[in-house]
Subunit: 406 residues, 2 copies
């Protein structure tokens, strides 16, 4: 088999941990597989570099930040390659540029446009374990270094796996797999053996931190079989694959929560066609992903309030844009609430089962938890609530949908 293994920051967080990674890779190779590794920066390194940058300039140029941050993964890749070498196996480290991970030029959160990967295939053919610096790419036009956003190494792994047509993409992390809820909050949370791309996608975008959202989208698109497993033990992990029939019998697969959102409200926006489009095109142009949107019913027929949530990391920029927009639109002002959380239930079975929403709302209301915003998709249901109720809500929903009995 041709196997891509991705190791996150804690998995390569020290020279000892790197040795464990190298041993696992070599073991996999000795078992007769071809192995390609994707590594993140050593844990803490990316933050260290960001802090260096911020002590120079609170808002450093994104292009320069990418150049800076990309070094963290290069260091890991070369050290892991050396470690494999010290175990007597041939290994070669490769940067995003050398692999040919071509991206757009939206620095700090670039999108992969193409993966060439000839160099990786050649290395594998020659018997090397290729060790690829995750999280990074280059722009096709100017060869500027880009990064793929937090968790971008997952995307590197899946994209490389797709490009070289790997049989399996293993994402090694510090948890055993995907759980029915965060085990730190719900003691009875169960590990899932298998989950569909769509469910994983919802869970990932809802704050389950095991896999980066875009990597799941990419895996789904190219049907890359992904396994999420721990680098600290030999447990099999959770397989993320195409939906199959018995998945549909499960109404809710998991409960997710996300405290990393901020709610921004532009008050007193003129209530006429095109305004919402104007707002969200402006925000999207800055590369900010808006999650939930609520347009209040207009009470005076002339103006309305427009609320939306964005990731906390985009808070500063989103508020800035909103204030400019409020000005341009002659709106009343901008209100920010960063003390919110989103709790969600996810399951492909929701497509064919009814009454799920009612059950969720009741569970929340039975616990006196007020719902601030609601959003739905075919296979998920999310409610924004007061942050302080997060843990309570997750536990109650886990119980309500009997996830502990799976």
């Amino acid at each position: 088999m041709l196997i891509v293994q991705k190791y996150g920051g804690t998995s390569v967080g020290s020279l000892e941990r790197m040795r464990a990674v190298a041993e696992r890779a070599v073991m996999c190779k000795r078992d007769g597989n071809d192995v390609v590794l994707i590594v993140s920066a050593m844990s803490g390194e990316t933050d260290r570099l960001i802090n260096l940058a911020k002590s120079i300039n609170e808002t450093p140029a994104d292009r320069e930040l990418d150049m800076l941050l990309s070094t963290g993964e290069m260091v890991s890749a070369s050290l892991v390659a050396m470690t494999i070498g010290s175990l007597g196996h041939r290994a070669i480290s490769l940067t995003g540029s050398q692999v040919g991970i071509m991206t757009d030029s939206v620095h700090t959160k670039a999108k992969i446009e193409k993966v060439v990967a000839d160099r990786v295939e050649d290395a594998v053919k020659d018997g090397y374990i290729a060790v690829i610096a995750g999280f990074q790419g280059i722009t096709s036009d100017t060869s500027d270094v880009t990064t793929l956003g937090r968790g971008g190494s997952d995307l590197t792994a899946v994209a490389v796996a797709a490009a070289i047509n790997a049989d399996l993409c293993e994402i090694y992390t510090d948890v055993d797999g995907v759980y029915t809820a965060d085990p730190n909050i719900v003691d009875s949370a169960k590990k899932l053996d298998k989950i569909s791309y769509d469910e994983m996608l919802e869970l990932a975008s809802l704050g389950a931190k095991v896999l980066q959202t875009r990597s799941v989208e990419y895996a789904k698109k190219y049907e890359v079989p992904v396994v999420v497993r721990s680098s600290f033990n030999l447990l099999p992990g959770t397989l993320v694959v195409k939906e199959d029939l018995d998945m549909e019998n499960v109404v809710v697969s998991g409960v997710a929560h996300d405290k990393n959102q901020v709610k921004i409200t532009i008050q007193g926006v003129p209530d006429k066609p095109g305004i919402a489009a104007k707002i969200f095109i402006t925000v999207a142009d800055k590369g900010i992903v808006v999650d939930m949107i609520v347009q209040n019913v207009s009470t005076d027929g002339k103006t309305t309030d427009m609320s939306f949530t964005v990731p906390k990391s985009d808070q500063r920029q989103a508020i800035e844009i909103s204030k400019e927009l409020a000005n341009t639109l002659q709106a009343k002002g901008v209100v920010v609430n960063d003390d919110i959380a989103k709790v969600s239930i996810v399951g492909v079975g929701m497509r064919t089962h009814c009454g799920v929403a009612a059950k969720m709302f009741k569970a929340l209301s039975d616990n006196n938890i007020n719902i601030i915003m609601i959003s739905t998709s075919e296979i998920k249901l999310s409610c924004v609530i007061d942050a302080k109720y997060t843990e309570l809500a997750v536990r109650e929903l886990h119980k309500t949908f009997e996830l502990d009995k799976r």
Copy 2:
């Protein structure tokens, strides 16, 4: 003017120092110049990375080491670019790869084959201060990251200056310029205002650490005017240029010393044609630069001893090769002496003045310093002596040639 400024590790050793560098660059730009910076890794960073590598593998693969080390300069370049940005000027960091510094594939001491530099010229044209990561390049065939050897950032600076046809290449360091001798050893050492490429070349290769040898060769070849000056003050430094007439009136310009050499002797080598060639071709093939060579007079007509010196950094490899050679040639054995130093006098005036050698030998012998090896060039004279006499020899030679009276 189009000015290239190179800042070494101590000059960018902290965020405060980086700010000083950025301010100097911006000042130069505000004076109406176009400015290109070359930066080294923050002081200590390269050693930190090497230690990391060595704690994995005492002899890590050179290719991987280059990948690892190249990150040090990338970090500096992006941080300096951010710092310039924080001063309100536009700056863009560039890696060796982005600049187009094409090298051969002798990792850890690659030779520059070509510098494209279009990207640098474009940046300058667009009003940016380009901040280039020194010390690194890429191989033209495989785009592997290479490094240019210790002090390689000097070479980057000169090569880029030549490629973009810069008017001046300023090498900023922690000393005020080139001295008649190491001021740490000779109190009365004087700073030189001007020195020829050839003299600088000899001084550099003799261990005067202000400029890397190859960078001087490169500067000479492309006639790049180089200034060596301090980043800690505004003193004018030492100009390194083409030889002119009044330089010839000075017999000796400086005294240099180098404790970084090891003497290796292959004993009992068959005394027949082709043997010396075989030895030194083998050594050169490994990229090791042999400095002095002495072939002893054969006493038995059949065998001889062959001694040569190499930089201490190549010691391990050179000894290994020598032992293999001794075996192949059925020589008696290999003896190593690493307790030696080389003291040298340098001056273009030596070409036209005689008696210089005699004067040097007398000064050493007057102080009971035994000469172990001698080597000469048109403009320099070097003696290998016991390491313990280094300081004494330097002081006495400085006095003998009246360098304190310049």
